[in-house]
Amino acid sequence: MTEPNALLTLKNVTKRFPGVVAVDRVSLEVYPGEVHALLGENGAGKTTLVSLLYGLYPPDEGEIFWRGRRVRIRSPQEAIRMGIGLVPQHPLLVRAHTVLENLALGMPRGFLFPTRGLEARIAELTHHYGFRFDPHAPVWQLSEGEKQRVEIVRALLQGARLLVLDEPTSVLTPQEARELFKVIRRMRSEGEAVIFISHKLDEVLEVADRISVLRKGRLVGQVTRAEADKAELARMMVGRQVSFERTKPPARPGEAVLELAGVHVTNDRGLPALRGVDLRVRAGEILGLAGVAGSGQRELVEVVTGLRRPERGEVRVLGRAPWSRRRARIAHIPEDRRRQGVAGGLDLAENLILHDYGRPPFARGPLLDRRAVYAFAREQIARYRIDPPDPRTPARLLSGGNLQKLILARELHGEPPLIVAVHPTYGLDVGATELVHELLIEQSRGGAAVLLVSEDLDEVLALADRVAVIQGGRIVGEVPAEAADRERIGLWMAGVGA
């Protein structure tokens, strides 16, 4: 028996992977005209559940009903035919081709590309939902938000009645996210069903009609928007009480640790990326650097961490150039933890000695002291509760949160006087985010200078003692955090009124 009106019904669906039950007897219904949020931390089983719906795996147990009829979804093609559309977290588009060509790829077709009829339908859809994009633009020119809209249009063109959005806001700016929510509401009013997958409480509360919370593969709670309470949802999701307040003792800034004066830097393409940056970060304070992506943050971080040399200007960390042999220890929490922060094929213990492999206690002469290396790893794994706790696990098998813990353990070891943290909580769940924030506050109050680079303005405002805004390779404004005003910072970020 299923609910008569439900579009989609899951009954006791279970999916096991070696060693884990990724989805454990989950039952839920999705109705037409409903936005149903799946809320859960990373690894809670959200993505696996979607993969089951999209025909990427068959469930090991349980039943799926579509419009009241039992179905077996064997492939994405079948899912699409039934009317299930997936908007993946990272757009799957051919970068060199135009939007139109990409959309035509998803359509059933004969030998020739059916672009003519398609263009009219695209125009109709984009007009209806208030999208603005040029169907003849090559995809590489689009922003992440625009690419996502192309994916949505693709799903709608394919006749989706149920749209699954997998972590859709992770690649969007706050403004783009607001646009997306408008589109979602519009679809709801047209009678479409939407499954909205997220680990961000605020946006789930903003957009969802019903919220199902997953934890460790189990459905731990289901509430309607009206009954939902943020703290209660967080507790369900994490399994314990979560605090949203960051208690931060007042900063007692000391001497300047990082000093930049008149720094000019060119990027890899030889174009100017920083045009005369002056910046100071003092011991014991957190400087939050806000800015739209691509404003020069990457080059600033590289020059501060000694990975790039300036064309002109001075960069000093405790009085020494960060690229010199006798540079001060700089903790660098990199922008892309998987691509930069670890050697994925090496194990956990080996990744923990990335900077110190040539020094005692890890090296005695040219020999690595493996006992010391693994003892250190066990100590750090216990301290940061890295999972899995086996120091021989290859780093690439770690989840995002655990990978970040590994990097924090390595970077914060040995009391670094300067910490450069770049998007340190990007893609992390509530628990891991909390840990990162606490560690950064703790380190700064212990006397470290912290440079926090983030596109998440909320994070910057919550953590920083001072906020600086970078735009077009210049620092266009700087204010104490308590005097920071979101509107003004937003204008600075956009390059207005600096």
Binding site: A343, G345, E350, L367
Partner: protein
């Protein structure tokens, strides 16, 4: 995930040793099968051919010794390539580096005023240096100017071949060679001892085994090998950690060229006793060493097994020539097929096949 009959095929990030072995063996079996088709087309029964090869190489002491002899240069060059590939230096030039080693050894053997007792050590040193320098050129071009190392190392092979040809036709042609293009015979002190009853020049074999062990130790257990492993796994992480990427790449380039050079020394001082035509010295060992390194999957100790295996393939070429009247170059067909199947089965390593029969619906 896909279902094929009662099997489930899933992606898997971890490659367990058992699957590595199974996939590699399957690739080799497929190569043997495809080569069998070639034999058959040639008019030789594949069953007879493989039986003959098996009996004459694995069961006959002299045949096996031939395989070991061929394995010596393969192991030296192969260990070098394992190091190079681990350090992201795509050295396709072991052939040329090997020839340069042979040239340097011949130069020392014939012309250097070195006391007899030091002759062989001096030859090995010179061979290592010459091979290393031949690899250092592309390494510097890559590191300083961003020139593609695959192309430069490969092209230098041809330069090396013509250098050898020029030497044996020109300034180094032997006085006793009677018009043939090769040098004089090396003095006795420049010849390597053999294991009696075989052609195995054991000092080179011992050196190769020792260096394979040393390479493993340096990679796995030292602070010099660690940045090589990080660079090989993720060059971006090596840069992030301020590792000396220049010295890592330059170091593995020197080592791999040097090891190939040692292989060249062994060939002229242990087998031929003179410098002669490039294709007589090497038989393509430098290219086959790429297969040796690939099969060894980045483990210098693994190269001991894979070099022996490829050495036996070469030895079976001898067998086929003598017993089955097939051209020796059939070994090239073998090598090509093995490499082809190894590369084409590479992706399969990342899939797991599970027995899971579908349950009947009610």
């Amino acid at each position: 995930m896909r279902r094929i009959g009662p099997f489930l095929v899933e992606k898997d990030l971890v490659v367990p040793a058992g699957r590595l072995l199974a996939v590699s063996s399957a690739a080799l079996l497929m190569a043997f099968f495809a080569a069998g088709l070639v034999f058959w087309a040639y008019g030789t029964s594949p069953v007879l051919a493989y039986r003959t090869i098996f009996v004459e190489t694995l069961l006959s002491p002299s045949g096996f010794a031939e395989g070991v002899r061929r394995a010596i240069p393969l192991l030296l060059a192969g260990v070098g390539l394992v190091l190079a590939f681990r350090g992201q230096f795509w050295n396709i030039g072991a052939e040329g580096q090997l020839l340069l080693g042979a040239v340097a050894a011949a130069g020392v053997a014939l012309f250097a005023p070195v006391p007899a007792a030091l002759k062989l050590p001096a030859m090995f040193l010179a061979g290592f240096a010459a091979g290393g320098l031949w690899a250092a050129v592309p390494a510097l071009l890559k590191l300083r100017l961003g020139v593609n190392d695959v192309l430069t190392t490969l092209m230098l092979n041809y330069v090396a071949v013509y250098l050898v040809e020029w030497l044996i036709h020109g300034p180094w042609r032997g006085r006793t060679a009677f018009g043939f293009a090769y040098t004089d015979r090396f003095p006795e002190a420049a010849m390597l001892p053999l294991i009696p009853g075989t052609y195995v020049h054991w000092p080179t074999l011992a050196l190769a085994l020792l260096l394979a062990g040393a390479a493993w130790f340096v990679l796995a257990r030292t602070a010099w090998g660690y940045p090589v492993r990080v660079t090989g796994d993720n060059p971006e992480a090596a840069r992030y950690a301020h590792m000396p990427v220049f010295w890592v790449v330059f170091g593995v380039a020197l080592a791999s060229g040097g090891l190939a050079g040692l292989a060249g020394v062994g060939e002229v001082a242990g087998v031929h006793g003179r410098l002669l035509g490039a294709y007589q010295i090497s038989l393509g060992y430098g290219y086959t060493a790429i297969i040796v390194a690939w099969l060894a999957r980045g483990n210098p100790l693994g190269a001991v097994l894979t070099a022996l295996f490829m050495g036996l393939v070469f030895a079976s070429g001898d067998v086929m020539k003598v017993a089955l009247q097939m051209p020796f170059r059939v070994t090239d067909v073998f090598n090509g097929l093995i490499l082809f199947f190894l590369i084409s089965t590479e992706r399969l390593l990342y899939y797991r096949v599970r027995w899971a029969p579908e349950r009947k619906e009610r």
